[in-house]
């Protein structure tokens, strides 16, 4: 029957569907505003300019104090999310590629270790793994006053890992170390958890990518005198990337979105800060809208970047 629909009729149906969607959206928005008004719940984005009044435990890149605005607080949350996601993606890629190639190795031990890693890591829920890492750091390491010093100037304690920078080095001062640079237990646990978990999936993607190369390609490479390693680097991997990049993109997106599990172990990521904001201001709809918009933007950016990269790989 569909084939009988004329051009005008198709346009009419689509216009009607569009109209219905717009009308539904308008109805929902109006109804929401009316309900919020009726139950005297504040609305609007005016709260972003108000003083936040709460402290945030750590801030990647940005300076923040309790006298700054909610917008500043959310920016700190975003920076923290981006920091843990980007470093996590880099670590997961390196680790995942190494394990994926390890599983293809002719060395029995390497192959089985890789298989065990993948099966164990990807079959335990990420949240449980995060609690595990957090417990290892917060409960397994000593108090700052009895901190371990594995390398000169580097201190391990349940307050995190402190290491010297060019300008200053950490020293015990009052309750904690001051000076130098630090990785907090929350950041470290989240980063390790996200990177090791995602690496298990990336390892499988890399393995699948390499196995997707026809045997003829390997034989041709050997025939012109390449070693196995050379064949992998110059013949197999460049072709495997076409298979690897699209699913790896999904994993990068997953890692970024999974970083919102930070809430559970107290890392102040975007969701954590936005939750506090929602609770202090009562403006859940605005807060959730901000979270959704930000994650959508991050995810679309990663997708765009990876699509561009994929297009480049395909051209070769």
């Amino acid at each position: 029957m569909a084939a009988n629909y004329g051009w005008g009729r198709r346009i009419a149906y689509q216009a009607a569907a569009l109209l219905a969607a717009v009308a539904l959206g308008w109805f929902l928005a109006r109804n929401t505003a009316a309900n919020l008004e009726a139950s005297r719940i504040a609305s609007g984005f005016g709260f972003l300019a108000r003083e936040a009044g709460f402290e945030i435990g750590e801030s990647a890149f940005l300076r923040y104090s309790a006298s700054d605005t909610y917008l500043d607080a959310l920016a700190v949350g975003l920076a923290n999310t981006l920091a843990v996601s980007l470093i996590g993606i880099a670590l997961a890629t390196v680790l995942g590629a190494a394990i994926g190639l390890g599983r293809l190795s002719r060395n029995f031990l390497l192959r089985s270790l890789g298989a065990a890693y993948v099966e164990f890591l990807r079959n335990v829920p990420l949240l449980v793994q995060l609690f595990f890492w957090y417990a290892v750091i917060a409960e397994g390491l000593p108090h700052p006053r009895e901190a371990l010093e594995p390398l000169p100037g580097v201190f391990l304690s349940n307050r995190g890992i402190f290491f010297p920078t060019f300008s200053s080095s950490p020293a015990l001062e009052g309750f904690n170390f001051a000076g130098g640079a630090a990785l907090t237990p929350e950041f470290a646990a989240l980063l390790i958890g996200l990177a090791t978990y995602t690496a298990a999936f990336i390892a499988e993607i890399v393995r699948a990518g390499v196995l997707a190369i026809e045997r003829g390609q390997w034989e041709a490479a050997y025939a012109i005198g390449l070693t196995r390693r050379q064949a992998l680097a110059h013949v197999a991997l460049p072709q495997a990337l076409r298979v690897i990049v699209p699913p790896a993109t999904s994993q990068f997106l997953n890692l970024t979105k999974n970083s919102s599990l930070a809430v559970a172990i107290g890392y102040p990521d975007l969701v954590s800060v936005a939750n506090t904001t929602i609770n202090q201001t009562g403006q859940a709809i605005e807060g959730i809208a901000i979270i959704m918009a930000v994650y959508l933007t991050i995810s679309l950016s990663i997708s765009a970047l990876m699509n561009w990269y994929n297009a480049r790989v395909m051209r070769r």
């Binding site: 402290e55 417990a135 349940n158 904690n176 559970a264 107290g266 609770n279 202090q280 009562g282």
Partner: protein, 332 residues
């Protein structure tokens, strides 16, 4: 999830909110009460899974007033962050979860606080071995705190006012934040003093290893709240709480209320519903207050059963006739 519920609730048609809470509660046959996920003395399930605490008793009192049966309550354990959305969205009828009454919450969140069932203030707990004697010595400390609380804001205010710095570790679940404190991730745990006493008595591996510092840095009047805009229900919950206080003042308890019908005191006669019609004015059975005292007890009984064993002092929470500030308007 709770947030999604709110979204759905505010997106749904307006008439859904128009039905009065009292009617809705009557027709479903129980009061849905939002309580803490587990704070000993306030709301926590006992070894048999029965919820106990002074916040739980407010819910039971409302059920006794509405149904004549204090058991007709269902509990929704809520974290600090979930609590307001749960009430706003209609998931619970009462929020009775050691919640501080502030102007922002009263105006901006669409809630009405019905009164105060515990006068509290914020304090600090530290491990004894740190040898800290005053909150003024806490500059540079790492402090465990739950998010979305007045605690989090008072903490930042106090350190700003005293020109000290601190590092917060903000974890939503009480269990997790306590694990972090007891594991030594933080130097300090801060919440309302009642919460500190409760946690030290019920969760600390060795209660004596922890001290509560003398400074109380804020006023925290804790009380139940209902949704804004339903005055009928607001009245029912408010007067259920007052009835418990009034009963203590009249020396009526669950033990002696049965003999009250022979009392000559007209105020007692009004209270138990033998004369007058205050119950009907609330839209309830005239024996509403009798049922509360008979089944739940007066405020002192609730306090003594739930808080005293944990080492709480009555303090500010004594009746006004005994030097405290607990005061119920007259029931007449």
């Amino acid at each position: 999830m709770k947030r999604l519920m709110l979204l759905l609730a505010v997106l749904s048609a307006a008439p859904a909110l128009a039905q009065s809470t009292l009617e809705a509660v009557r027709s479903k046959g129980f009061v849905q009460c939002g309580v803490n996920t587990g704070l000993a003395g306030f709301s926590q399930p006992d070894s048999k899974g029965v919820w106990r605490g002074i916040d739980v008793d407010v819910c039971r009192a409302v059920a006794a007033a509405v149904f004549g049966d204090s058991a007709k309550v269902r509990y929704t354990p809520l974290t600090a962050q979930q609590r307001f959305t749960a009430l706003q969205s209609g998931e619970v009828d009462i929020l009775s979860r050691n919640t501080t009454w502030t102007i922002t919450r009263d105006t901006g969140l669409g809630l009405n606080f019905v009164g105060v069932n515990y006068y509290d203030g914020q304090g600090f707990m530290v491990p004894r071995k740190l040898n800290v004697k005053s909150a003024k010595q806490l500059g540079g400390a790492t402090i465990c705190v739950q998010p979305g609380t007045t605690t989090e804001l008072n903490l930042a205010d106090y350190f700003r006012a005293n020109n000290m710095k601190f590092k917060p570790v903000v974890i939503e679940k009480l269990e997790e934040v306590l694990n972090a404190y007891f594991a030594g991730r933080c130097d300090v745990f801060t919440t309302d003093v009642s919460g500190l006493v409760s946690v030290r008595g019920s969760r600390a591996p060795k209660p004596d290893d922890h001290v509560i510092l003398p400074e109380v840095i804020s006023k925290e009047p804790l009380g139940p709240a209902v949704r804004h805009g339903d005055d009928r229900w607001f009245d029912v919950v408010k007067w259920s709480l007052f009835a418990m206080l009034e009963a203590e003042e009249m020396k009526l308890s669950s033990k002696n209320i049965d003999q009250a019908s022979s009392s000559k005191d007209p105020a007692v006669q009004r209270f138990i519903g033998a004369s007058g019609d205050v119950g009907k004015m609330l839209g309830l059975d005239n024996r509403w207050a009798f049922n509360i005292v008979k089944q739940v007890g007066n405020y002192a009984e609730s306090f003594d059963a739930n808080l005293k064993p944990l080492g709480f002092e009555r303090g500010l929470n004594r009746l006004w006739t005994q030097g405290g500030i607990m005061y119920a308007p007259p029931i007449r």
